[in-house]
Every structure is written in structure tokens, then in C-alpha cells.
């Protein structure tokens, strides 16, 4: 990982609010992060933690209304995407940033052939001719490991299995050689053996193509195996961020620590009882003025209810948003 290189993507202080009839929902609260070239950033969090909304916000993919980006800055290739017009954003989507979504069943348009859907961005962004787009599509399908690519271009999404469909989605996302690939829980809907296939594929593609990847997941195992850096989100905020080994070896936020412990292990001794994070994730009905995790936190103290902790670096490229100093508690 080329440390110190200029980030391809730099997000600062992003805030996204959903205006609903029942009141505002502060889905993303002052999220800042960057993505270095060729890096794979894993984003972990439970549903409702704001991880997908953050990524959707970057390129204006949220339905507006009800969503509204209140403030922030998203720098990509030297310009602020939040200040870009619709046409500019469109030129970025698919061209510079590719997306892979969770459910390959519904994310592909059922009535168009796979070939059509791969060729679409090629023709729009790259201005390719029909035949060149076709050749590139075949190439892409081969790249993502779909056998008999030429013939399968004419097939419809429903003729592919789940794993194959996700490969097609990846092919589409990679069509225009984007600098950044955002994968939103791309393996959650897949079986473990298929997930293993996709993970292998992504590793391979990274080596070959070298794009930067943001990988959203709730599965710590997946992150552990693939990511360079991890960002943990909770309640619409980044609570902890750092290199993957650092996070797993030395988790600083009580939430990360608890999360790591709730997952039963496949090897080693069986726990009599699983460790549990009691309670429910918070409602994001108001702009947070306190730590969103305090209600479930075993270490919470008065300050946690008074002040929303800011992210502070704790060394090794590792930072955490917590008032509690984990070093005090750990021997």
C-alpha cells in the first residue's frame, strides 16, 4: 500500500438527513474518510449504521427527497462532487466510480440481456462503437470468470446463478476502468462457497487492475481476509478506523471490541455463552450530541452522555471516537 500517496477519494464531514413524515433521520453524521489509490477500505457496521447511505451520498444515488445532503465535501480527482451538477455526476458514475450492490437478483434489469447492460456504460462513457463495446464486454466477462462469455452475452440475468450474476455486476462496475469501486455488501446474499469464489475473484482483480475499493459489509470475517484498512461505523458515525491488523489485534472502541467477541469462532474452544451487546441500535432522530453507543456501552460514563466524542488518533494510522481510553482497561 503506497503510504502517503494522495487519496483518490477524500470525504470530509459528510452529513445526510432523511426528511420523513415522522421527523428527520440523521443517517450520516459528519463522516470523514479518505481512500488511497489501490487501497481496499473495508466498512463495517450493522444495518442502520449509515454505511451504505454514506457511499450512496457520495455520488447522489439517494432518492432526493426524502434524502438530503446537508453538508460536507467529497473530493474525487480534484473536484467536489457535492458541488457538481447532475451531468458532471453522471460522468463520474460508472466512469470513475463503479458500483456493485448487494442483491444481484434485483440489481440487474431483468428485461435486458447481460450484454446490453455491460455495453451501456461503455458506449456512453467511452464512446465505443457497437463492435468494440461487444469485444470489451466479452473481455470483461472473461475477466470476471464467466465461461463461454461470448454466448452468455445474449442471456438474460435470470439465466445466471446468484454468484454469476454478481460477477456480471462486477463486470459492469469495472467496465470503464474506474479508479474507485464501491461494493455494497456484495457477498451478503450469497452462499459461503460462492462468497469464497467472489472474494478470490476480487483479490485477483485488484492485483490485475489496481483500483481502489470500498467494501461495505457487516461480516468481520470477510473484512479480515480482504481489507487493507477498516472503518467501523455505528449510529451514522465512524467510531473507529485503522489498518486491518491493528483493528483486529488492538480494537480501541468498545463497540468494535464487543462486536469481535459476539462472533462465535470456527476453531478453538467453544464458548459456553456468546458475548452479547445488549440493547438495540439507536434511533437517529436528532443530530447526536452524545455518544450514540453509550446506551449499550459497558464502559459508558457521564461524559459520554454530554459530548459526542471526536475521532482521535491513537497511532499506527489508527483513530477512534471514544472518551474511554482502552489502554487503561486492558492490561
Amino acid at each position: 500500500m503506497p503510504d502517503g500517496a494522495l487519496p483518490v477519494l477524500d470525504v470530509k464531514n459528510l452529513k445526510t438527513v432523511f426528511r420523513t413524515r415522522a421527523g428527520d433521520i440523521h443517517a450520516v453524521n459528519s463522516v470523514s474518510f479518505d481512500l488511497k489509490p489501490g487501497e481496499l477500505l473495508g466498512v463495517v457496521g450493522e444495518s442502520g449504521s449509515g454505511k451504505s447511505v454514506t457511499m450512496m451520498s457520495l455520488l447522489g444515488l439517494l432518492p432526493m427527497p426524502p434524502a438530503e445532503i446537508v453538508e460536507g465535501q467529497v473530493m474525487l480527482g480534484g473536484r467536489d462532487l457535492l458541488k457538481s451538477g447532475a451531468e458532471e455526476l453522471r460522468a463520474v458514475r460508472g466512469r470513475e466510480v463503479g458500483f456493485v450492490f448487494q442483491d444481484p437478483m434485483t440489481s440487474l434489469n431483468p428485461v435486458f440481456t447481460v450484454g446490453f447492460q455491460i455495453k451501456e456504460p461503455l458506449r456512453k462513457h467511452m464512446g465505443m462503437s457497437r463492435s468494440r463495446a461487444r469485444a470489451r464486454a466479452i473481455e470483461l466477462l472473461q475477466l470476471v470468470g464467466i465461461p463461454d462469455a461470448e454466448r452468455r452475452l445474449k442471456d438474460y440475468p435470470h439465466q445466471f446463478s446468484g454468484g454469476m450474476r454478481q460477477r456480471v455486476m462486477i463486470a459492469i462496475a469495472l467496465a470503464c476502468d474506474p479508479k474507485v469501486l464501491i461494493a455494497d455488501e456484495p457477498t451478503t446474499a450469497l452462499d459461503v462457497t460462492i462468497q469464497a469464489q467472489i472474494l478470490e475473484l476480487v483479490k485477483e482483480l485488484r492485483q490485475k487492475l489496481g483500483m481502489a475499493i470500498i467494501w461495505i459489509t457487516h461480516d468481520l470475517g470477510v473484512i479480515a481476509g480482504i481489507a487493507d484498512r477498516v472503518m467501523v461505523m455505528y449510529g451514522g458515525q465512524v467510531v473507529e478506523q485503522g489498518p486491518v491488523r491493528e483493528i483486529f489485534r488492538n480494537p480501541a472502541h468498545p463497540y468494535t471490541r464487543a462486536l469481535l467477541k459476539t462472533v462465535p469462532k470456527l476453531h478453538g474452544a467453544r464458548d459456553e455463552k456468546l458475548r452479547v451487546i445488549e440493547g438495540q441500535p439507536p434511533m437517529l432522530a436528532a443530530h447526536p450530541t452524545a455518544c450514540p453507543f453509550r446506551a449499550r456501552c459497558t464502559h459508558a460514563f457521564t461524559r459520554c452522555a454530554q459530548e459526542n466524542p471526536a475521532r482521535r488518533p491513537i497511532g499506527n494510522g489508527h483513530d477512534v471516537a471514544c472518551h474511554w481510553d482502552h489502554h487503561e482497561a486492558t492490561p
Partner: protein, 375 residues
């Protein structure tokens, strides 16, 4: 209609039911499944004649001992959920018998089956879909009571509150509708409903698949507590191998409608006999970057074949990294290779059972497994 005879009318004091689940003592088979087959017919042709079957569950046999948890694992479409539903005869069986507590429910008349239902219950996968959005929590939990008792309202309500306490739901929520709850709470409602009639046997059909990681642990712990408290027997269906390892006493692995391996949990995880089990275990990503980078995975090629047209011979032969000629021709038998450790694989038959006895293989959790054709 009164409560079925094997049920206590109300909950006994907790201590009385608090029996240990450790199966070291004399164990009784509560559920015996023999040669269970469940085919869904496929119709085709001009006259809509039956042209084939989807063999969702194909000749599966296993037992579940009283008080234990049998885990069923497998990928989607392997027939594990169908198997669970068939065991409770939510589908009409094509063949085979399911004896629960001495009664073959495959042959019971509808009315008798109805009377038997209180003793066997189910917890469903999708806590959103398994609760009727137009009923309150109280009426959802109370539905089994409405069907099987003629208790007065107050008694039912009392029982509903008891159940809500038992699963950790605030009594104040009784009049809310399911959509007002989070996934974990909904699953608690589903569990409370399953417990309402004091069942002895509960099929848990992927009860945690739709939940967040932090909530999964809560629900699994709850299930375990309830098992201890009421001496329940579980059939725990899941695709999450690590969670199954945590909760189950014995584990059965299914592939394409058939059992490929069945063993006590420690034996299975430490010493998987079937190549599929091996592959499955190796595919599970571990939340440990150090282990992950060292480990080399068995990555299976391709997809699961269609259950309407399974391959000839061994079901797994199309993807097996250790496939042999015989696998494509002959279906392997499901045999016991070590005490309580069953598997169906030609490889085992060839290499002999002795070599594969438990504990003979060293350090399985970090074994470098030869990759198949995929390398």
C-alpha cells in the same frame, strides 16, 4: 379442547424444569426420521403430465435425541429448510416416516396431527415475514392458545405475559404491531409464539439469518437459555457454520437434498470426512486477519446443480475437488465411519474407515488442504 396431555397446563417453577442438557446420560430418541423424501412434481408437456421431480429432500435419515440440538447446515437450495418443514409435516411427505415421541406424524390424520402440533413448533427465518403485520403481539403469541385451549381471556393474557417475560419482551409492547419492532425483537415474538404451548421439539429454521451480528448473539443465547429452562430439543437449521458450531450438539451437512455427513459437533469441525464439509468449512471467512492470510481456501468450482436434475452418481461429483471415476457412476452410501460419525463418500470407502477415525488427522483447523482442479 384442552391442552394436550404431555403439556403442563401452566409453567412449572423454573427450577423444576432446569435439567442439564448434557447428553452424557441415558438419551432417548425424540425424533426419528427415516428415509424422508420430499419431491415436488414438475409438470410439463402438452397435457401437463408429471415429467419429473424436484428432489428437495431425497432419502434423508437421522435421529434427534431428547434435549439435544441437531444442527443442519448447507447452502441455500440444499433442502435444509424443506427438510425442517417436512419434519413438522408442513408439507406432505413423498415417502418415509417421521416419528416424534413415538408417533409417526407422516401418517396421522389431519385432526390427530392438529392435536399433535402443540408438542412440535417452529421458529422461522424472516422475523418480518413470519409475523402477520395486522395482528398485535399479544394476538400473535396468543394464536396457538386460541387454537388449542379454551382458556378464559385473562388466563390467556397471563400466559402471554409470562411468555413475553421469558423471551425478554417488555409487557407494555403487547398491543403493538410487529412493524414497530426491530428484527431481534420480532424474532423474540416468534420464539414466544413457538413456546406458547410448551412444545418439546422446536425446528429453528435459520432463526438468525436475517439479523444483525450483535442481535444474532442475543437470540442464540435466548434459545440456549430456553433450552436449559424447558428441556427443549432443537433442530437448528442454519448456513452459519460458526453459529452452528456454537449451539449444536451434533451437526448434519446437507447437499442437494441429501445428507453428506452427520457427526457430533467437535468431530465434524475438527475432522470433516466429506470433501464438501471440508470445502464449506474452509470457505467461512474468519474474523482474524492473521489466520485469513495464512489460510488457503478450498474454492469450489461452479454452482450447485439444479435439484430437478441432479447429477448421476454422487451429487457432489460436479464440484468435488477429489472426484473419482466411481463418483460419477455410483451413489455413495451413508455410513458410520466412526462412532456417531456418518458420511457418504467413495473416498472414505476406498481409504478405509480406520484411517479416518476421529483424532487421526492432525491440526485440522490449520491444515493446508490440497486444492482440487481449481488451483
Amino acid at each position: 379442547m384442552t391442552a394436550a396431555p404431555d403439556m403442563t397446563a401452566a409453567l412449572p417453577p423454573e427450577s423444576a424444569r432446569d435439567t442439564p442438557t448434557n447428553p452424557a446420560t441415558q438419551r432417548r430418541k425424540l425424533v426419528e426420521v427415516k428415509n424422508l423424501k420430499l419431491y415436488f412434481p414438475i409438470f410439463g408437456g402438452l397435457l401437463r403430465r408429471q415429467v419429473g421431480d424436484v428432489k428437495a429432500v431425497d432419502d434423508v435419515s437421522f435421529d434427534i435425541y431428547e434435549g439435544e440440538t441437531l444442527g443442519i447446515v448447507g447452502e441455500s437450495g440444499c433442502g435444509k429448510s424443506t427438510c425442517g418443514r417436512a419434519v413438522l409435516r408442513l408439507y406432505e411427505l413423498t415417502e418415509g416416516s417421521v416419528v416424534i415421541d413415538g408417533q409417526d406424524i407422516a401418517t396421522l390424520s389431519p385432526e390427530k396431527l392438529r392435536l399433535k402440533r402443540p408438542s412440535m413448533q417452529m421458529v422461522f427465518q424472516d422475523p418480518q415475514a413470519s409475523l402477520n403485520p395486522r395482528m398485535t403481539v399479544a394476538s400473535i403469541i396468543g394464536e396457538p392458545l386460541d387454537e388449542h385451549t379454551n382458556w378464559p381471556r385473562t388466563k390467556k393474557l397471563e400466559r402471554i405475559y409470562e411468555l413475553m417475560d421469558a423471551v425478554g419482551l417488555n409487557r407494555d409492547y403487547a398491543n403493538r404491531y410487529p412493524h414497530a419492532f426491530s428484527g431481534g425483537q420480532r424474532q423474540r415474538i416468534g420464539i414466544a409464539r413457538a413456546l406458547a404451548l410448551n412444545p418439546r421439539f422446536i425446528v429453528c429454521d435459520e432463526p438468525i439469518a436475517a439479523l444483525d451480528v450483535s442481535i444474532q448473539a442475543q437470540v442464540v443465547n435466548l434459545l440456549e437459555e430456553l433450552q436449559d429452562q424447558f428441556g427443549l430439543t432443537y433442530m437448528f437449521i442454519s448456513h452459519d457454520l460458526s453459529m452452528v458450531r456454537h449451539i449444536a450438539d451434533r451437526v448434519a451437512v446437507m447437499y442437494l437434498g441429501k445428507l453428506v455427513e452427520l457427526a457430533p459437533v467437535s468431530a465434524l469441525y475438527a475432522n470433516p470426512l466429506h470433501p464438501y464439509t471440508e470445502a464449506l468449512l474452509s470457505a467461512v471467512p474468519e474474523p482474524d486477519p492473521f489466520a485469513e492470510t495464512r489460510k488457503e481456501r478450498v474454492v469450489l468450482k461452479g454452482d450447485v446443480p439444479s435439484p430437478s436434475n441432479p447429477p448421476k452418481g454422487c451429487n457432489f461429483c460436479t464440484r468435488c475437488p477429489k472426484v473419482m471415476e466411481i463418483c460419477r457412476e455410483v451413489e455413495p452410501a451413508f455410513r458410520e465411519y466412526a462412532p456417531g460419525h456418518f458420511a457418504a463418500c467413495h473416498l472414505l470407502e476406498e481409504t478405509g474407515t480406520a484411517a479416518l477415525n476421529g483424532g487421526m488427522r492432525p491440526e485440522h483447523n490449520q491444515t493446508r488442504i490440497q486444492q482440487g482442479e481449481d488451483a
